[in-house]
Amino acid sequence: MANNIDVNEVKLTAKDFSSDQDVRWCPGCGDYSILAQVQRTFPDIGVKKENIVWVSGIGCSSRFPYYMNTYGFHSIHGRAPAIATGLKISRPDLSVWVATGDGDLMSIGGNHFIHACRKNIDIKILMFNNRIYGLTKGQYSPTSEKGKVTKTTPYGSIDYPFNPASLALGAESTFVARSLDRDPKHLQSIIKRAADHKGTAFVEILQNCNIFNDGAFALLTDKETKADHVLVLEHSKPMLFGKENNLGIKLDGFRPVVIDINDGKHSVSDVWVHNEEDHHPIRSFILAHMTDDPKLPTPIGIFREVIKPTYDEGITEQIENVTKKKGRGDLQKLLFESNTWEV
């Protein structure tokens, strides 16, 4: 089986990717936008729809496969990366996608997530991060901010949240990105880039749960505030943001600071230039941790993309090499090869 995914010959449209099932998310849920952006992007990723598989776990996000007119597998809580791993290893010709949430991936599925990243399994993981358990009706999640008051933390949560981008980087994911449900164009571009990446692609999508955690990302999505709070990362471009695009990130040692390039003291040449392909991961960690400091904007875009051989390529190659060396296995020989005797 080829390790290359067959490319499309017929031009599909977003509608081709829409299944016959009624979408059952709450009205106003951020998931609708994510679904729409995926359906809009998929005609352009160059893969036949029968060669695409969506795998999910449990949670609101995990209903996703039902709404995509591709092959789909709505599995059990946390296990989507493991199921997707087995599918991709056994069928390298497929384009395998995981739809998951912050509870599904960062909590019960944490182990599968880090190991999929470590092994560079060629799967694409879209994590819808609403920082809350929605399907179980409002308990705090592993990405909820400390002090979060929910049904299970009436006096505020006392544990520290995961930083998903940092976790993915730490687990050696070869593609780490972040986007927003309310920024359709940006989200489409990131989905396209994830599709093009060969290796584990992790995309954190900040997503509003208008029922249990409404407005969690309002600062990043409201017209008035977003320009000052969102930093759009672009490869080999200086990190500029703000209404006037006059604010920039300067790297002061390991510490990112905000500067005004029009204040007479700084210029655009002081601004940190983003390099997605930076060989060393340290700068991408600094980007991931900018959310620790409320004075800094939240970066969206691609934190890091590096290329190294994928696990499924490795296993295919090993099979080819061993077969070349030993010849295609002959079962009868296998039985008779060790100490035998005849009666």
Binding site: K49, V55, S56, H74, S75, I76, G86, S90, N111, V343
Partner: protein
């Protein structure tokens, strides 16, 4: 017993012998035992082995809990167990002697390495005085051999370190035993040359020590008798010696070939199942893909993914791992995907006895899931039977689109026996048909077996979604409808029941009607068979039936059971099959239960049968 003279020594011909090699866990006893078994197999004896080793890799030297043993029963006739009690004990240190003394036969032959009976080792083995001279061994035939010094002597002209030299002492013991039981040293010399090809000094040393042991036997006056065990009269064919785990691995590769499907194994290392993963990872040129997962759950989840993709998907584990896989097995039940789950049972509960055998996962395999989640449950009965049952498990999984649990156990997984190998071209193909027609495709429509179509990704027009939520009959859409759920639960159960039409009937060995039927399952086959044989030899009538298919039972099971006054069920658990038989057939059964981490002794089953017969019935 025949006696002849040769080279000044008496040669005694024996029908069967049980030997126990015992020493420290670092003494190489498993290797010694395996070599003796392989050579014994080559000279044509029937044999059965029982490796028994501690959970510690290198327990502190000389301790009682660090003793590693390898029991081997070989014979000139058909045998089925590694022997109840050894006739010969090779004890490399005081601890090995102490641990095994209570289990060996009266008047057994004991060969001890006297060099290790020093004050330090005696103390570690908790001996207050030296058992070699305080009367402890009275009644036994004890042979004192300074194995360590003789080994050192044999290697005095080499440049090896003391540590390297003493490490080869197991080959001295092996050589001596080869002489004593008239076996050739050549197969082991061949093996040494291959094994230590990269280290010719060690290879030469091991060979020299092996030969030294052999010649010692010949020259010493300590041995006055030599034994011979003629080759067994086995059915014609080509044989090899095989362990259960290797047979399982080869069976799976065979199933892959017979079905034309690529093999995928998702697994996490666990004693005593890891070897299956190890074997399969060497079969790359058979197209086998093995994935050592991050945990047990990922092991099965990756296999379910591969099954969705159209592979013959396998996961292997032992009891604790089966517990972790329970939720995912339920997913495979709901999604009706073919999947083979192999559980090499060990002592439980919890971590239990990782290196010891048990049959206590039957109820877990049958019922250990949430909801009504029926799966097929099969059990292999001997090491070589693992080959056939691995193929059977694959066949049923693929034909019925269902998870199948195959139970083996630590005893048959590690134990070995001669195996008459099949000709691959004579094995029946496993028919697999993937759905390709768009017209009339429904993911949850069913054929006469009640199995649903398998449409793998990549097939144009058959894009569909499956998952763990209840499925609507035929369309496979998500459904919370009460009547549909009721129907689907019943359909899934009925599907498993219909496997009855595709499996062999339960065979009865002996009269099909009578006073006593000994009913077993899994790895107790050999012990029961030997017990039944012995009881018959003393003139009683007794029958045996062995279940290899437990869910569903073979069609004629009720009929078979109804023909006997008493049903005895020996199990290495506290009565799990007995419980199922009672509830399924409303029959009283007599239990014989031991959970000692060891195979049940034939003699215990024999006594129980005689007790039921009351000493005179059926004669």
């Amino acid at each position: 017993m025949e006696e002849t003279k040769s080279n000044g020594k008496t040669v005694q011909s024996l029908n069967d012998v049980t030997v126990m090699f015992a020493g420290d866990s670092g003494d190489g006893m498993q290797l010694t035992g395996t070599q003796f078994s392989n050579t014994t197999a080559l000279v044509g004896n029937d044999l059965s082995t029982l490796p028994d080793y501690p959970a510690e890799i290198r327990a502190p030297a000389g301790t009682l809990y660090g003793v590693s043993g390898f029991q081997l029963h070989f014979s000139s006739s058909d045998i089925h167990t590694p022997g109840d009690s050894p006739d010969v004990l090779v004890a490399m240190n005081p601890a090995a002697l102490k641990v095994n003394l209570k289990n060996i036969k009266e008047h057994a032959l004991i060969i001890v390495n006297t060099d290790s009976f020093d004050p330090k080792n005696l103390k570690i083995a908790k001996y207050d005085s030296n058992p070699l001279d305080d009367g402890t061994l009275e009644g036994f035939h004890v042979i004192h051999v300074p194995i360590t010094s003789l080994t050192t002597n044999a290697l005095r002209d080499t440049n090896l370190s003391i540590k390297e030299i003493t490490r080869s002492k197991n080959f001295f013991a092996l050589g001596m035993m080869y002489w004593l039981y008239n076996r050739p040293v050549e197969p082991t010399i061949e093996w040494i040359k291959q094994k230590f090809a990269k280290n010719p000094d060690i290879a030469a040393a091991n060979e020299a020590v092996l030969k030294a042991g052999y010649y010692f036997g010949d020259q010493t006056e300590l041995f006055t008798t030599r034994y011979s065990v003629e080759s067994a009269n086995l059915p014609k064919g080509v044989y090899r010696n095989i362990s259960g785990n290797e047979a399982t691995a080869i069976g799976l590769v065979t199933a892959s070939e017979l079905s034309g499907l690529p093999l995928f194994l998702g697994s996490y290392p666990i004693t005593p199942a890891s070897e299956i993963l190890q074997y399969l990872s060497t079969y790359k040129n058979y197209g086998v893909k093995t994935f050592q997962a991050e945990d047990e759950i990922s092991g099965i989840a990756s296999a379910i993914g591969a099954s969705f993709g159209g592979s013959l998907a396998i996961t292997t584990t032992s009891g604790p791992g089966l517990a972790l896989k329970a939720e995912a097995i339920g997913l495979a039940v709901m999604t009706e995907l073919p999947l083979v789950i192999i559980n090499v049972q060990r002592g439980g509960p919890s971590t239990g006895l990782p290196t010891k055998t048990e049959q206590a996962d039957l109820l877990q395999a049958m019922y250990g899931r949430n909801g009504e989640a029926p799966v097929a449950v099969l059990a292999a009965s001997t090491p070589s039977d693992c080959f056939h049952m691995a193929i059977e498990a694959s066949r049923i999984a693929l034909n019925f689109m269902t998870p199948v649990i195959l139970l083996t156990d630590g005893y048959i997984a590690n134990g070995a026996e001669p195996w008459k190998m099949p000709l691959i071209e004579e094995l029946e193909k496993i028919e697999v048909k993937f759905a390709t027609e768009v017209e009339g495709f429904f993911p949850y429509s069913r054929n006469e077996k009640l199995s649903r179509p398998w449409a793998k990704p990549g097939t144009p027009g058959l894009e569909h979604r499956i998952g763990g939520l209840e499925k609507a009959n035929i369309t496979g859409n998500v459904s919370h409808d009460p009547d549909n759920h009721d129907l689907m639960c019943k359909l899934r159960t009925e599907k498993i029941q219909r496997i009855q039409n595709d499996i062999p009937e339960l065979e009865v060995d002996g009269p099909s009607k009578g006073d006593v039927l000994v009913l077993g399952w899994g790895g107790t086959y050999g012990s029961i068979r030997e017990a039944v044989d012995r009881v018959r030899k003393s003139g009683y009538k007794v029958s045996q039936a062995h279940l290899k298919y437990i869910n569903p039972f073979p069609k004629n099971t009720r009929e078979v059971l109804n023909n006997f006054k008493h049903i005895l069920i020996p199990e290495i658990n506290l009565g799990q099959l007995a419980r199922i038989i009672r509830s399924e057939f409303l029959l009283p059964v007599i239990q014989l239960n031991q959970v000692r981490g060891l195979p049940i002794k034939s003699v215990d089953i024999q006594n129980k049968i005689l007790e039921i017969l009351g000493g005179n019935n059926g004669k």
